[in-house]
Symmetry: C2
Subunit: 349 residues, 2 copies
DNA sequence: TTGAAAGCGCTAACAC
DNA sequence: GTGTTAGCGCTTTCAA
């Protein structure tokens, strides 16, 4: 309403303290939820904070307590923006609360691991979040470790000493999805593999195989065809599957893009999805719900994963500060089977 | 290599000054590229910076020169993560250089404009970046303005006083794409509209119409069908278009999702794309290159747009600080016509 | 052209 | 429990 005031600086802790009638230190302690503050003082400060709309100045806080550090979300050119966006959102929401400053670094395409390590080190980063496939790049991980930079890997099953990780159980998710199809009545289920460079690919295949075996179904190698996560590769893979003498009644593609490709192939061959063939994906990317029929798929809580990653880094730093070295942490988050319209009971023949 | 040292604090400007044999101030000035530093001193400092691997401490810098402010990237639930991811990447890369601190705020779904304004104000944000459709929400924009919060709208043509904006020329891009089809030989071009709440939708339609008129082609209203940017709506719209007595030889969908839907419909009807019908999209989302045939579409430089947005905010703040009020800025970025496999010369009949 | 001094807002140490 | 004293690393005065 009143536009006269040229600047209204945000309130400082000093003003909060004055407003609450306590010393600056008490205000600081109260704001940070530390112990050793009387209930009365705490209440007064809380009130003052509300009244003034006080928000701590992150820079000052960072500068004063040496507790703050920079952490980087490192990504390669191959990380899709949707995936990256989710990671960013999660990390950005968590970082300030953990007193961490988040920066984003992109690996130059074709760069050597050593160069990337150098770049990260130059940026005075204390920890990095490594989404796939970076987290499976041994030289990079090793280089970072040598520099004493904390690492948290997203969605890997690698067990590197000191490396933190956040993941979902890919194998188990694939197992569940396969079991879902088996319970629907499918007996011949095609599998389209992902890029062999991503270890998740192998884990998903393992889950698929386990489910088949546990349900006493044949494990026909002809039903397992290669792919590389791209739509294009899915097209070829689906063609191979559909051309089989005994066509599968369901296809489990290692990601949504390839599942979408399989649906396209089915359309072209006038095979109705899901009435004549069920097709499932993995990842629940926007594509999964964009196409028709919408894909039954597995959702991974990407945003939560990066949130957790920040949490792990914060914990690691805290334990380092306290001298307790080498606390390891691996957290597994729950996935979700999202059932949409691309799967059904197999047609009788 | 040597893991013995528990902590190696980054060098400070003090050390740089000492190394260069100058005072702290001279070092500071040199590092910041200010005038009034002798060439000799500057060289010495540069050397010291290189030698020590000095990187300015952002927190200290922000704290000292009160020049830093918080800016928020506001997004609604309807912003897709891919779009948001691109926006974030651009903004995050530019913000530190402009001495701005970026935060992300999500509008609670169904919240009133006043509530959102309140939320933003509480966060002591000096400026906001408003992607569509938020930038076209009059009450929100008005509320923010009343609070004296700088606004930069992404991809809008609204001309609100004081509001900064970064956009591409939607109308012109649509014109170009339509012209492209016309030059290929198409005379009956269907158009699938976008969500009427997004003003870009109307701008694209205008470009389509203009191109038709300028090339002396009939403007058949039956060829313009409604949609809302969703794949689902694209399915319906494409059905209507394909069911027309005189079927169009090309379809221009207002975004990629709907274009993908049109391709699916064409497949179902056994109409070959692009041999029998050309289908173009808009936005160049990942979907555009994920499907087959890959879409000919328009790419907007989203990452650059948010980078520019940050730049505009920084400029606005600077001019405010200098007392020069009301500097307006609207930047237009270039779009790109991405030609892939979904368009071709029309079949003769 | 350069430098010394004085903080920016906050929190670790210590006292009380 | 609370308050006091020092800084964190940097940039803004202002004086030399």
């Amino acid at each position: 309403m009143q536009k006269s005031e040229p600047k209204k600086k945000p309130p400082t802790i000093k003003e909060v303290a004055a407003h609450a009638g306590v010393s600056i230190m008490t205000a600081s302690r109260a704001v940070n939820g530390k112990a050793l503050v009387s209930a009365k003082a705490r209440r007064a400060v809380d009130l003052a904070v509300k009244a003034l709309g006080y928000v701590p100045n992150a820079s000052a806080r960072a500068l004063a307590g040496s507790a703050d550090r920079r952490v980087a979300l490192l990504h390669s050119h191959s990380t899709t923006s949707a995936y990256l966006g989710e990671l960013l959102l999660g990390a950005m929401s968590e970082a300030p609360q953990r007193h961490l400053h988040l920066v984003v670094e992109q690996c130059a395409p074709g760069a050597f691991a050593a160069e990337i390590v150098e770049q990260v080190a130059q940026a005075h980063v204390a920890g990095v979040i490594l989404p796939p496939p970076l987290c499976d790049w041994a030289e990079l991980v090793e280089g970072l470790r040598a520099r004493d930079i904390a690492i948290v890997a997203i969605a890997t099953d690698q067990d590197v000493p000191d490396m933190l990780s956040v993941s979902t159980d890919d194998r188990h998710a694939a197992y569940d999805l396969t079991r879902h199809l088996i319970e629907l009545g499918h007996k011949r289920i095609g599998f389209i593999e992902g890029n062999p460079r991503h270890r998740s690919s192998a884990r998903r295949l393992q889950g698929y195989k386990d489910a088949l075996v546990h349900h006493a179904l044949d494990l026909d190698e002809a039903l397992i065809v290669p792919g590389d996560f791209s739509y294009r590769s899915g097209l070829d893979a689906a063609e191979r599957l559909m051309a089989l003498d005994e066509r599968p009644t369901a296809i489990f593609a290692c990601n949504d893009d390839m599942a979408a490709a399989a649906i396209t192939v089915a359309h072209q061959r006038k095979v109705n999805v899901p009435a004549e063939i069920s097709i499932c994906g993995f990842d629940d990317t926007p594509l999964a719900s964009a196409i028709w029929p919408a894909l039954t798929t597995i959702r991974q809580p990407i945003r939560d994963m990066s949130r957790e990653a920040i949490g792990l880094l914060a914990m690691r730093f805290r334990s380092q500060d306290e001298g307790a070295d080498g606390v390891i942490g691996k957290v597994k988050l729950d996935y979700q089977l999202i059932r949409r319209q691309s799967d059904a009971v197999p047609a009788r023949h």
